[in-house]
């Protein structure tokens, strides 16, 4: 009996260790993760919690930038610091203890002030795939935001404050191919069957089939036949059923074509029942979603150069395909949902979709080759495999263009619509984003946090309130924030609760994994967590 050799990839220690996550982002995603280098600024509890959920799944490397020493308070909130190291460098100890989690990850530590690094060695930041920060002050956020925006390196600014936390993502441009949409309609092409599919449909004569075969016809064929019949009945060979009434007529027709026993009762034909259930989505017109239309109109793909990213070269080839051989449609996806059928009927149908997908992908590939030549890039810049994946996921492509965080800090007198509108909604968490901004402003003015010492809780309430109303008036907002919340934040006095940091840390880690693997859509672009009632909210600033 043959036993697979222990060298087979499925058996390797690495794939066994990472098995549970490989089932989500696949080998390519894992490889992207293992070659990525993330930079953390400030090894607070939130900071180490973020790194923890990156080191465990096997990120290639991290660098901690931190010039603080460990205090007693740190020990009470940060799991990756210990009491016997109080007084030592925080980033160094955190890096050591985090590296223990996974021997595959390399950890580095830089003992330097952020502003000084930005001044003396800004090129350092261009070596990371992504930078994530915790507990930064206003000036640091602004300088870092400018620098990373010019380098086009993603930046995540995070905070954990009492029972609240926030995250703000800065991405100049982010392109994704595999976004893993939750409920995607299958790509069936009943409205426009390609030649071989049409020929295959035509080989069937449902009424002539014996009962066994009738019970095993894939619902797709039933739907096609009934589309033809319905079109015939109303005398229009191009129309598609769109209204409920039209679809109901077809459902009735399908039901009436179920075979009957001699005593007149219906046979149990699962495939016909599936056909009836599928009427609602299966006759959808094959077309480009608004999102894809926008991507195919993007100026990035109109003016390709040798600096263009592969995504935009492939997108241009896709556009040319759609405009020519695709007749306005994307390449065939090539996957078929499962349906009641016998093996032969199902597999032959599946094969047709698969072959057409390969044919379409090849057409796109030829166009990509031509485009690469035009801009003087080597042929192997984009592989055939890359194109296959791109075409298979063509309907779910996504491009995010973000905004610069520094603009939010430097904007004057220009009312921000999202903020004003959200403030009108009493349940919106945007209020907390504003209060957290107010606290940063408070620190810039007083070099302390509101309520940091017990005696200051009450006196700091009006001071914080003033900071916030100044901010709001700078933005041209008329609204104000609730007095109760301002009191609550002064109660916190910059306390960092471990379980709150752990929640936000987990959220932020996954956003980083999404950005590194370019799979799944990240938050665009801000996020607030309220641990008092376990709620979260995202908004675009």
């Amino acid at each position: 009996m043959a036993v697979p050799s222990p060298k087979s990839p499925e058996q390797s220690e690495r794939s066994r260790k990472y098995d549970r996550q490989l089932r989500l982002w696949g080998d390519q995603g894992q490889q992207d993760l293992e070659t990525a280098h993330v930079c953390l600024i400030n090894a607070t509890a939130l900071g180490t919690e973020i790194l923890k959920s990156l080191v465990l799944p096997g990120i290639g490397a991290f660098t901690i930038i931190d010039n603080e020493v460990i205090t007693e308070e740190d020990i009470g909130s940060n799991f990756f610091l210990t009491a016997d190291r109080i007084g030592e460098k925080r980033g160094s100890i955190a890096s050591q203890l985090l590296c223990e989690l996974n021997p595959d990850t390399r950890g580095h530590f830089i003992d330097e002030c952020l502003l000084k690094l930005l001044d003396l060695n800004p090129g350092l930041f261009n070596t990371f795939n992504i930078v994530v920060t915790t507990s930064l002050h206003e000036k640091e956020i602004i300088d870092l935001s400018h620098k990373l925006w010019t380098y086009n390196i993603p930046l995540l600014v995070c905070q954990s404050y009492g029972f609240f936390g926030s995250m703000r993502l800065q991405l100049a441009e982010h392109t994704m191919i595999k976004t893993h949409p939750d409920n995607q309609n299958p790509d069936l092409r009943l409205d426009c069957p390609f030649q071989k599919l049409k020929a295959h449909f035509d080989t069937y004569d449902l009424e002539a089939l014996d009962l066994t075969n009738h019970l095993h016809v894939p619902y797709l064929i039933i739907l096609y036949k009934h589309l033809e019949k319905w079109r015939n009945d109303i005398g229009d060979v191009n129309v598609l059923p769109e209204t409920y009434k039209q679809k109901q007529v077809i459902r009735e027709n399908i039901k009436n074509s179920i075979r009957k026993h001699e005593n007149g009762t219906l046979h149990h034909e699962e495939n016909f029942e599936e056909a009836i259930r599928s009427v609602n989505f299966a006759y959808n017109r094959t077309s480009l979603s608004e999102n894809i239309q926008l991507i195919l109109k993007d100026e990035k793909l109109m003016n390709l150069t040798s600096n263009s990213q592969p995504f935009w070269i492939m997108a241009r080839a896709l556009k040319d395909f759609v405009d020519n051989e695709g007749c306005g449609r994307l390449p065939v996806r090539g996957t078929l949902p499962d349906m009641t059928a016998d093996t032969f009927k199902y597999i032959s149908l599946q094969q047709l979709y698969h072959e057409q997908a390969a044919k379409d992908a090849e057409a796109v590939y030829n166009r990509v080759q031509q485009l690469l030549q035009n801009v003087n890039l080597p042929d192997d810049t984009i592989t055939e495999q890359d194109i296959k994946i791109f075409c298979k996921h063509a309907s779910e492509l996504c491009v995010i263009r973000g905004t610069r965080i520094a603009d939010e800090y430097e904007r004057k007198g220009n009312a921000d619509n999202e903020i004003s509108q959200s403030l009108e909604d009493p349940d919106s968490l945007i209020e907390h984003y504003i209060i957290l901004r107010g606290i940063e402003r408070f620190y810039s003015e007083y070099y302390t946090y509101p309520g940091e010492i017990d005696e200051q809780v009450e006196p700091d309430i009006p001071k914080l309130k003033l900071c916030i109303s100044k901010l709001l008036s700078e933005w041209g907002c008329m609204s104000s924030t609730k007095e109760d919340y301002i009191h609550e934040y002064c109660r916190y006095g910059k306390s960092e609760l471990h379980s709150v940091s752990s929640f936000i840390g987990g959220c932020v880690s996954h956003e980083i994994i999404k950005i590194i693997t370019r799979q799944y859509k990240p938050v665009n672009n801000s996020f607030v967590f309220n641990a008092i009632n376990c709620s979260t909210e995202s908004f675009t600033l």
């Binding site: 009996m1 697979p4 098995d19 799944p57 007693e72 029972f163 752990s502 709620s535 995202s538």
Partner: protein
């Protein structure tokens, strides 16, 4: 508390020693609360896996001093991508023991006591000991059992008033891939796990005829080898051991052969493992999020510093980050937490066989049992109808499965006593038989 320890908890002390507009009405800020967390509050963590490791860390860091953890499992290599208290050298050791040792060394203010055993091995007296329980399990059955246990500890006075001192709150977390949920259960007061059984998604199963004669998917081929080919060929003279790579390899090869025969693509080793072991994808980040939400609620339960989650939250970060909280409702006829209400089962007629009754109990939305044992009271005498867990009695009672209710002497209104692994206590179900004329004659 020494001075170091005092400053260590400065973060928590601001929350616990200052008042606020959002406090729970019972909250009285002061130094006593942290003392309580550190010295008196005793709680149980069920499960030391993906969620369990996170729960233990979070609880220790939130000031809890006396934590017990129970888990029967040992550490597997595939745990290391998220169960961060374990290292390569710990593979095959007890999860509960390694996790406890790690926390005790890292956070000296917390003492974790491990219990390397099944939850069913512990008595009521063990569970009665705790102020509350936090659950981080991947098994619905175990979750239901713990839920049933905590509800069975409730006591009511003569006026059917609940004795509040017997209430042990349960905080339950669950994850699957990028999804998760958290709920707070106050037994006897808020909805329990069995009140909301319909929230668990049904398991994917394939019809046997598809597997046997019309396979279309790689999964069909794998199920064929597992359900039909393995029992027939019995290649290693044993049942399938899902942890034995030789067994999995055999299934992989046979599935591949079958797939080739039918022209089906997509059988690979990872898929074979996934289908055979019913693997649920898991990542560190989701476990971190859900455990953190559980421990935040645990902290609220213990300190009253904030109102509790009321009572269910779902989380999903596959597309952006999404949470939704809502108030699940208690079921007035819940099989577990409404003890004073009689439970009924509607049966068509007495010609039904006993095995059908068992099938109904397993598929019934409200009961969802796994492997029930049935006893009945006839003429004041207990009679065992079927007992699956004791081999000798199973053999003796097996013929009953093929008998009809009528043959077994069961009529409308009979009380069926049902015991199942989903609940620590057996309970009575009254049979309501529509067509009872046969036995009336």
């Amino acid at each position: 508390m020494c001075d170091n320890d005092h400053r260590r908890w400065n973060h928590l002390k601001k929350i616990l020693e200052r008042s606020s507009p959002f406090c729970h009405p019972d909250f009285e800020p002061g130094t006593g609360i942290l003392e309580f967390l550190q010295n008196s509050c005793k709680l149980l963590v069920v499960g030391a896996g993906g969620l369990g490791c996170e729960l233990l860390k979070d609880l220790a860091m939130m000031g809890f001093g006396d934590v017990h953890v129970i888990d029967m499992d040992t550490i597997d290599l595939s745990n290391l991508n998220r169960q961060f208290l374990f290292r390569r050298k710990d593979v095959n050791s007890s999860k509960a023991e390694v996790a406890a040792k790690f926390i005790n060394e890292r956070v000296p203010t917390c003492r974790v006591t491990p219990h390397h055993c099944k939850i069913q091995d512990k008595s009521e007296d063990f569970y009665r000991n705790f102020h509350f329980v936090v659950c981080g399990l991947d098994s619905v059955v175990a979750r239901r059992w713990i839920n049933g246990m905590l509800i069975s500890l409730l006591s009511y006075d003569d006026n059917q008033q609940l004795d509040n001192s017997t209430v042990i709150p349960l905080i339950d977390g669950g994850t699957e891939g990028f999804k998760g949920n958290v709920r707070v259960i106050i037994p006897g007061i808020t909805p329990c796990i069995d009140c909301t059984l319909d929230l668990f998604p049904p398991q994917v199963t394939y019809p046997l005829c598809t597997i046997a004669s019309t396979p279309r998917l790689p999964e069909h081929c794998i199920e064929y080898v597992k359900l039909i080919q393995w029992p027939k060929e019995n290649p290693f003279d044993s049942n399938i051991d899902t942890d034995d790579p030789v067994h999995i390899s055999w299934i992989y090869e046979k599935s591949l052969e079958r797939a080739d025969e039918f022209g089906i693509n997509g059988v690979n080793y990872r898929l074979v493992q996934g289908v055979i072991k019913n693997i649920i994808p898991a990542v560190a980040s989701t476990n971190a999020v859900i455990a953190a939400a559980c421990v935040t609620e645990a902290f609220k339960v213990a300190t009253s510093c904030c109102p509790l989650l009321n009572n269910y939250a779902v989380f999903n970060n596959a597309d952006g980050i999404y949470t939704y909280t809502y108030e699940a409702e208690r079921k007035s006829d819940c099989i577990t937490c409404s003890p004073r209400k009689a439970k009924y089962l509607d049966i068509d007629d007495t010609n039904m066989r006993l095995e059908k009754i068992i099938e109904i109990l397993c598929e019934h939305q409200q009961y969802q049992m796994k492997n029930p044992a049935l006893t009945i009271e006839l003429d004041g005498k207990r009679k065992t109808l079927y007992m699956p867990n004791v081999p000798s009695i199973e053999l003796k009672t097996r013929p009953n499965l093929k008998m009809t209710l009528e043959q077994l002497g069961i009529a409308d209104g009979c009380k069926l006593l049902v015991a199942d692994i989903t609940n620590p206590r057996a309970f009575e179900i009254i049979l309501k038989i529509k067509n009872n004329c046969v036995s009336m004659e």
